[in-house]
């Protein structure tokens, strides 16, 4: 039987000042499956990284069977029988399953112990009922099997308490069923399990007890037998009424963007967007809510010309778009505020001026003969851009690195809005920003709407979507679960859909 684990008053402040946990209590009994539920950024991963020794809490204590413990690293936690399978896999692709399972065992030379370990691993797999082809290189195994290897790797270290972080996000429904059967078997064997998810149906199916986190706090805890989706959804997203930003109450115009039955393949080679249809009209903000990783990134990348369209069509101003490239998308009037400015939107070591023409560097406006950059013109353009969008920078020739995060984002947003687009694709436009920059960027988006532009807002921040959008959709596992005017949904209904459940009488 697994131990009794208790976390008390856990606070976590990240070095950059982000407060991830604000006094969380969490306990886990022997032979119990606890579902840890919450939307993005609720603090689920942080809490479990603390339990598995990967992070130290800023405040609070952990007790095992009543005794206080301190984990300085994951090895400490493993010694106490606690192991975590992370959202992002940590396997070595060309190594075989067996090698991956035994890799990193303390004081072992992979090649020497391999044969001895094989028997042990085989016995473990039989005991827990996992089937894994041990001699196949990881990269040749399907995602579901790779995950089993991850789990086997953790169990091989003698884990009695298994933590799974969003384990079903990349799995097919069949693989999910298999995983659940396996988890029940583990539980019967006496192990305890923490199952992190944002999917309501799954947590209701597999867990014995459910703990809901929101914004670093526990907002509810209930035995699964007594839980209802509605209650969980409310705990997950809260019931606060979001103030709507003021906007001119004009009726929206013609559809600018029409998307029909769009299918997009994700990085893992599986469909990430599974047939969505919608339109965005001139003078409206269409917001797509949903927990991250449900196909929003792939949808945005397809519209921005960064990812091929597998099926379906995209029409802009009534004309079908061909196979898009980023430049073609811009030519047709699409501006793209990308989801992660540091990854896609800018080059930190480039000057502010260089960043201000990024994605427009090919435009004749900024060039002289022979492909030479027209520096005087670029510098003047940048200076005007900084002024118009209130970007505070040491100078147009300072490296972008020297700007604060908020000003970097204002630079990216300004650059895109200055393209005078027909459609603005804004993906997580205010993530990680200070309050003032957030307010300013939201105001800009509303201004664009009022000026008759079509705005497609994709955000994992439900408040942002509710505050800004005229119409919304909720995306779950690559599909839209609900589309309609923002007033047509209660917050609870949206929460349900974010968790994958369509409210009664709302079938799309």
């Amino acid at each position: 039987m697994g131990p009794r684990i208790e976390m008390r008053g856990i606070h976590k402040v990240y070095p950059d000042g982000t407060v991830a946990l604000r006094g969380v209590d969490f306990r886990l009994g022997p032979g119990e499956i606890v579902g840890l539920l919450g939307e993005n950024g609720a603090g689920k991963t942080t809490l479990m990284k603390i339990l598995s020794g990967l992070l130290q809490p800023t405040r609070g204590e952990i007790r095992i069977d009543g005794r206080p413990v301190r984990f300085r690293n994951p090895a400490d936690a493993l010694r106490a029988g606690i192991g975590m399978v992370h959202q992002i896999f940590t396997l070595v692709p060309p190594y075989t399953a067996l090698e991956n399972i035994i890799l990193g065992q303390e004081g072992s030379n992979l090649w020497l112990v391999k044969d001895r370990a094989r028997d042990q691993v085989q016995r473990l797999l039989e005991e827990v009922g996992l089937s894994i082809p041990l001699d196949t290189p990881m990269e040749l195994l399907p995602i579901g099997v790779q995950q089993r290897v991850e789990i086997a790797k953790v169990l091989y270290r003698g884990t009695q308490t298994l933590i799974l972080d969003e384990p079903t996000s990349a799995l097919t429904p069949l693989e999910v069923d298999e995983l659940f059967r396996f988890l029940r078997r583990l539980k019967e064997g006496g192990r305890s399990i923490v199952f992190i998810t944002h999917k309501l149906r799954e947590v209701l199916e597999i867990s014995d007890r459910i703990v809901v986190l929101r914004n670093g706090r526990v907002t509810g805890e209930i035995s699964t037998r007594e839980a209802t989706p509605e209650l969980l959804a409310e705990w997950m997203v809260g019931r606060a009424v979001v103030p709507r930003v003021s906007r001119s109450p004009h009726p929206p115009g013609e559809p600018v963007l029409i998307v029909r039955d769009l299918e997009v393949i994700g990085d893992l080679g599986l469909p990430a967007v599974k047939g969505v249809s919608f339109e965005v009209r001139a003078g409206e903000i269409f917001g797509i809510a949903g927990v991250e990783g449900n196909g929003q990134s792939e949808l945005a990348q397809a519209l921005g010309g960064l990812r091929p369209i597998h099926r379906g069509e995209i029409l802009l101003d009534g004309k079908p778009l061909p196979a898009l490239t980023p430049i073609e998308a811009y030519r047709r009037g699409i501006a793209h505020i990308p989801e992660d400015r540091l990854r896609f939107g800018m080059a930190l070591n480039f000057e502010v001026a260089e960043n201000s023409i990024l994605s427009r560097q090919w435009e004749p406006t900024f060039l002289r003969g022979w492909g030479r950059l027209d520096w005087p013109r670029i510098l003047a353009f940048t200076a005007a851009l900084l002024q118009r969008f209130q970007v505070i920078a040491p100078g147009v020739r300072a490296p972008a690195r020297s700007l604060s995060g908020g000003n970097q984002q204002k630079l990216v947003v300004g650059r895109e809005l200055a393209k005078e687009p027909r459609l603005i694709l804004a993906v997580h436009p205010t993530r990680g920003l200070d309050v003032a920059s957030t307010a300013y960027i939201r105001e800009l988006l509303v201004q664009m709407r009022d000026a008759g532009k079509a705005v497609l807002l994709i955000s994992a921040d439900l408040d942002e979507v509710l505050e800004l959008s005229d119409r919304i959709a909720v995306m779950y596992e690559g599909k839209f679960l609900g589309v309609g005017p923002v007033e047509a949904f209660t917050r609870e209904e949206i929460g349900l859909m974010m968790g994958g459940i369509v409210p009664q009488g709302r079938a799309v």
Partner: protein, 343 residues
């Protein structure tokens, strides 16, 4: 202002390198100040010495460009050595076998060498772009292939009749004019400096350079900006190859007294690898590379005087030079490593 910081760091590094080299001399009872005085006077004491220093610097500023233009596009192109061999062979061929009128002959020989260098970089470039083969692996392989190919061609097809140890010398019409009687510095240095300036202008003054640098800084942002990444990488390789080819030519048609390639490749060997160090000291900047190449030239030419005048044994001279170079390369190496770690 923004260019001043790297320059300042490099100057500090020079100081530290000199002090470290001095510290290395002390236990062997040499007098560091006297030795450095000999070094400096040897390198810059007379106009003749300055010219010799510059002659040493000429090929180095070019092979430094090969590496630097690669790093700017995110590549670790260490193929300058091989590209330079092939450029040298091309120069020998055009300069010694093609009878052309004066003026035109120099031009043709120079261009042939640059094209040969560029072609030699093409296969690693295409392997990288099409198959993702890491350029370190492919360029090392191509360095070896180039070494053997160049040796073979030099011995079997281009050897000077009756003198198997070297190739036919360049015809007088293909030789860059010597700048002063008794000096080994020729007008090829102006071509080299022009090439460095051109690359500098290309990188910071054109759309193509902007896109190459963007690929180096942040490939995903480059994709977002609509840059054809393969094309940017291809240009980085080709420009680097041209620089290395020109470096090879500079030793054949721009460096008396041999005006030819030794069968051992002795008069070009390691210039490509030395370029990596020069590029690092020059902060992967084509103009910084010119300054760094002059410094390297000074160490090479002036180093001999440390031996004559301060009596420092030649092994120690090389050790001191190496120490100075390592210290100088640290700031740039550090930024490279840090970038790898953080991004």
């Amino acid at each position: 202002m923004r260019r001043a910081r790297p320059l300042l760091e490099s100057l500090v590094a020079v100081g530290i390198g000199l002090i470290a080299g001095g510290a290395l001399m002390l236990p062997f009872r040499y007098h560091p100040l006297k030795a450095y005085q000999a070094l400096f006077q040897g390198a810059f004491g007379t106009p003749h010495d300055v010219m010799e220093t510059l002659a040493f610097a000429t090929p180095l500023m070019l092979t430094a460009v090969t590496f630097a233009v690669g790093v700017r596009a995110g590549l670790f192109n260490i193929g300058a050595e091989g590209q330079m061999y092939i450029g040298a062979i091309g120069a020998v061929f055009a300069a010694s076998l093609l009878p052309l009128p004066p003026g035109l002959h120099i031009l043709v020989a120079t261009l042939v060498a640059m094209i040969c260098g560029a072609l030699w970089s093409l296969v690693p470039a295409l392997l990288k772009i099409w198959r993702g083969v890491h350029e370190v692996i492919s360029t090392i392989m191509f360095n070896w292939i180039a070494f053997h190919l160049a040796t073979y061609l030099a011995i079997y097809y281009l050897a000077e009749p009756g003198r198997a140890e070297r190739t036919r010398p360049a015809l007088p019409t293909a030789r860059y004019p010597i700048l002063a009687e008794g000096s080994t510095l020729t007008a090829v240095i102006f071509v080299a400096i022009l090439f460095c300036l051109a690359v500098y202008f290309l990188l910071w003054g054109t759309r193509m350079g902007y896109e190459m640098r963007l690929v180096g800084e942040n490939p995903e942002a480059a994709r977002y900006a609509g840059v054809q990444i393969g094309q940017a990488l291809l240009w980085s390789f080709l420009i680097g190859g041209m620089a290395a080819g020109l470096a090879g030519a500079s030793q054949i048609i721009g460096r008396p007294p041999a005006w030819s390639l030794y069968a051992t490749l002795g008069n070009v060997a390691t210039l490509g690898f030395d370029g990596i160090g020069v590029a690092l000291v020059g902060r992967n900047h084509p103009l910084g590379g010119i300054l760094a190449a002059i410094l390297f030239g000074a160490l090479q030419h002036g180093g001999r005087f440390m031996e004559y005048h301060a009596g420092v044994v030649s092994e120690l001279v090389r050790a001191v030079n190496g120490l100075i170079v390592i210290t100088l390369a640290i700031p740039e190496l550090w930024t490279l490593v840090r970038r790898r770690l953080t991004l």
